[in-house]
């Protein structure tokens, strides 16, 4: 086992794609079990954990919309609007960069496009306005991951799917911490701006309204989404469809930035290439995490942690260091897929609210994007702006310190995260989580596949409460504790049910 693990790690370092390593690990680990077969790691992929997960379709649709926006003239319009509205503030253009990056990353999911699209436009302007080179570079590099806490960012949705949280609640949970991060960074930007004697763009109502009016169709997206989801008119997957259709219409028909023949097929294939790269890792990691749960790895880690740490305060510090390390060596989507099943039970054991923990998790990954020596944004900026990576290390250090301050605030003041979700009524939770669907299906079939008695008792106790989704076992936990037996049990159950149903269809 150790030799296999070392072999896979070595393969990882020479560039073997992560999906195949997770797949190989899952196959070998399952085959080492007495009841394991070749199909064991793949069975769950066709079930609620992946193929039958109703929330999964939001990932391609939001990504498609994000790529359409990136391809259109939206980055330029966004910067014009931000400049007109925020340019008067101390640190004018720096604050503009933060606002525009946060808005843009929300839709592009922190995949690095923000640095290229928004940073590429703003860096020359900032240098022209005599911002220090190192500060400007650090700022655009930080902007690359700034909006991942805002709905409907893809990392946020992926986290919700993996952790099996109520999606509407999770999307709302990110808003306040996201604002805190932007405000803290803006204060720092204003401080630097005042020190360097920034160029102020005077605020003119007419110009501000004119620029906003020019971008009204795109500016309306987050407003309509939040209103639609908050009022329960749009469920999460409907919101993703709405965004895709709306952006397609606006960019093709109204702004005409996207040519339906020339650009649309290319944007569709490019966006789905990214989606494929993410989802294939997810599909292969499902088998791996199922084995982890079956081998009780999270439980063992938890037991070990509890012998060492009893305080939530200390746990959070260790967790932050661990997550930044994970986020640095892995890319955000992989980190979510792999680390969430492992650390979520720990967070629950230490009494953390699942939504609070989700935001801490993602904020750490946001910082990890910048963390030297391997943070992903450092390399994108290095290539895009032609500066050595070591120069960028020094550029981002202060930004990391500022982000860390925001992280501490979000970590130790949970109300920042939990306030908005707690305001939502249970009626607003119109999204059926995979666990809800599984529970309904299982009850209909008169079976409780893949759930322990404790799980069922917990579900029954919580039925009807808006907390039900939060206390449900993870899909991966289900997979681990009962996936293979579930598949085996399903057959006799179906076989027993057949005669009764078949009798109805008996041809005379």
């Amino acid at each position: 086992m150790t030799i296999i693990a070392i072999g896979l790690i070595l393969l990882a370092f020479i560039g073997v794609p992560l999906f195949s390593l997770f797949g190989a690990a899952a196959i070998m680990l399952f085959l080492s079990l007495p009841e394991g077969t070749w199909s064991s790691p793949a069975i769950d992929v066709f079930g609620q954990g992946f193929a039958e997960n109703p929330s999964l379709m939001t990932i391609p649709l939001f990504t498609f919309a994000g790529y359409l926006l990136a391809e259109s003239g939206m980055p330029r319009r966004l910067i014009t609007v931000s400049r007109a509205w925020l340019g008067w503030m101390p640190g004018g253009l720096a604050v503009v960069c933060l606002g525009a990056s946060a808005f843009f990353t929300t839709f592009t999911g922190g995949s690095g496009i923000t640095i290229v699209a928004v940073g590429g436009l703003l860096l020359p302007a900032m240098l022209q306005e005599k911002y220090p080179d190192r500060f400007a570079l650090g700022l655009v590099t930080t902007g690359g991951s700034l909006g991942i806490l805002f709905p409907p960012s893809v990392p946020l949705i992926l986290y919700g799917i993996i952790a099996n949280l109520n999606m509407n609640k999770l999307l709302v949970a990110g808003i306040m911490p996201g604002i805190v991060v932007v405000v803290v960074l803006s204060i720092y930007a204003a401080f630097v701006g005042m020190k360097t004697g920034f160029v102020k763009t005077p605020f003119v109502w007419k110009t501000a309204w004119q620029t906003l009016w020019a971008m009204k169709w795109e500016a309306a997206i987050p407003v309509v989404l939040l209103a639609g989801m908050g009022s329960g008119i749009l469920r999460i997957h409907e919101a993703s469809v709405f965004t895709a259709v709306y952006v397609l219409f606006v960019e093709v028909v109204i702004y005409r930035d996207i040519n339906i023949k020339r650009d649309l097929p290319r944007v569709a294939t490019e966006s789905m290439t990214l989606v494929g790269a993410i989802l294939i890792i997810m599909s292969c990691a499902i088998g791996f995490t199922a084995w982890m749960i079956q081998a009780e790895i999270p439980q063992r880690v938890l037991d070990w942690m509890q012998t060492l740490i009893s305080s939530q305060f200390i746990f959070l510090i260790i967790l932050n260091v661990f997550l930044i390390f994970i986020g640095m060596i892995m890319e955000i989507f992989t980190a979510i897929i792999v680390a969430v099943p492992l650390v979520l039970p720990l967070a629950r054991a230490y009494g953390l609210d699942p939504y609070h923990f989700a935001i801490i998790f993602l904020l750490n990954l946001e910082i990890a994007y910048l963390a030297p020596p391997l943070g992903i944004n450092l390399f994108i900026s290095s290539i895009r702006f032609g500066r050595p990576v070591t120069y960028l290390y020094r550029s981002v250090l202060t930004f990391i310190a500022v982000l860390f301050a925001a992280l501490m605030l979000v970590c130790y003041v949970p109300i920042i995260t939990t306030w908005l979700p707690s305001m939502m009524k249970s009626d607003d939770m119109s999204e059926d989580t995979p666990a809800d669907v599984a529970r309904n299906d299982d009850k209909l079939a008169g079976q409780d596949f893949g759930m322990t008695n404790e799980d069922i008792a917990a579900l029954d106790a919580d039925a009807g409460s808006d907390e039900a989704a939060d206390t449900l076992p993870d899909p991966v936990v289900d997979a681990g504790t009962g996936a293979a037996p579930a598949a085996d049990e399903a057959k006799p159950a179906a076989a027993n049910a057949k005669p009764a149903k078949a009798a109805k269809k008996h041809a005379k």
Binding site: F13, G15, L18, I27, I113, A268, V275, F379, I380, K498
Partner: protein
């Protein structure tokens, strides 16, 4: 090798077309279904009926997502945009880099073919399991509804045969694939695309190995070719920079 490249390009073009068709169909079906669902809030009769007739839509969207995922993953292999931790290849000299590319390509190819077998096994289990709603009792015992005669089907009240699935089932049966349920029939894409991905990785590994054997000029030529191809891909995303072979511009092999 040139023949393989040509096949790979043509295959990628068809995958791209399939992606566009599936994605746009999903957008259309999902928006139509969401619109109808919201109309039912106002208790509009025809909307209620239409929604009931569109029960297949949710299943279609889930299956469509799975298709997009694996078609996209296969295309990511073509463009070398899979997510990987390529720490060593980033700093290694050209020869060592190509040795690593060759090893990584072949290793990943072999693993992915193994994954194809694992997913084919799971898919076979699902394909051969006949759901209750497709089972009926004929003169010779239990049978699939698609195997029933028109008279037998007519005798069942409120029942119609899933005509499209029955045609697909016959076609699949002819090529040796049993398909007892439409849901499982859609899953065939998964092992199929794993085979495509595995073959692509194997060939990429062999290509890197051949370039390594041919010497520095061949490796430089391959680098330039990859840069040019990826520049076209990346330039379309708002002028993003070109990526290195075996990895994306982001330094993690990820798609920027």
């Amino acid at each position: 090798m040139e023949l393989w490249r040509r096949i790979d390009r043509v295959w990628a073009r068809w995958e791209g077309r399939a992606i566009v068709v599936v994605l746009l169909s999903m957008v259309f079906v999902a928006s139509f279904s969401a619109g109808v669902r919201n109309l039912t809030r106002f208790d509009i009769q025809w909307a209620n009926h239409l929604l009931m007739d569109m029960e297949w839509a949710d299943s279609f969207l889930r299956k469509g997502t799975m298709w997009l995922a694996f078609l996209g993953a296969s295309l990511a292999t073509h463009y070398r945009k899979h997510i990987a931790i390529d720490l060593l290849t980033r700093v290694a000299p050209l020869k060592a880099k190509y040795a690593m590319h060759a090893l990584a390509g072949v290793a990943c190819g072999v693993i992915t073919i193994g994954l194809a077998y694992a997913f084919a096994s799971a898919c076979y289990l699902n394909l051969t399991e006949r759901p209750i709603e497709y089972e009926m009792i004929g003169a010779n015992g239990s049978m699939h509804v698609c195997d029933a005669t028109a008279e037998q089907v007519k005798e069942l009240e409120d029942f119609s045969r899933p005509a499209v699935f029955c045609v697909a089932r016959t076609v699949l049966k002819a090529v040796g694939i049993p398909a007892e349920t439409p849901g499982a029939a859609f899953q065939i894409i998964v092992p199929f695309m794993f085979i495509a991905i595995g073959l692509r990785f194997l060939m990429q590994g062999i290509e890197a190995g051949v370039a390594l054997a041919q010497g520095e000029a061949a490796m430089e030529a391959m680098e330039a070719e990859d840069r040019a191809r990826l520049a076209i891909v990346h330039a379309s995303v708002s002028g993003a920079p070109p990526a290195r072979p075996g990895g994306g511009a982001d330094g993690h092999g990820g798609a920027a």
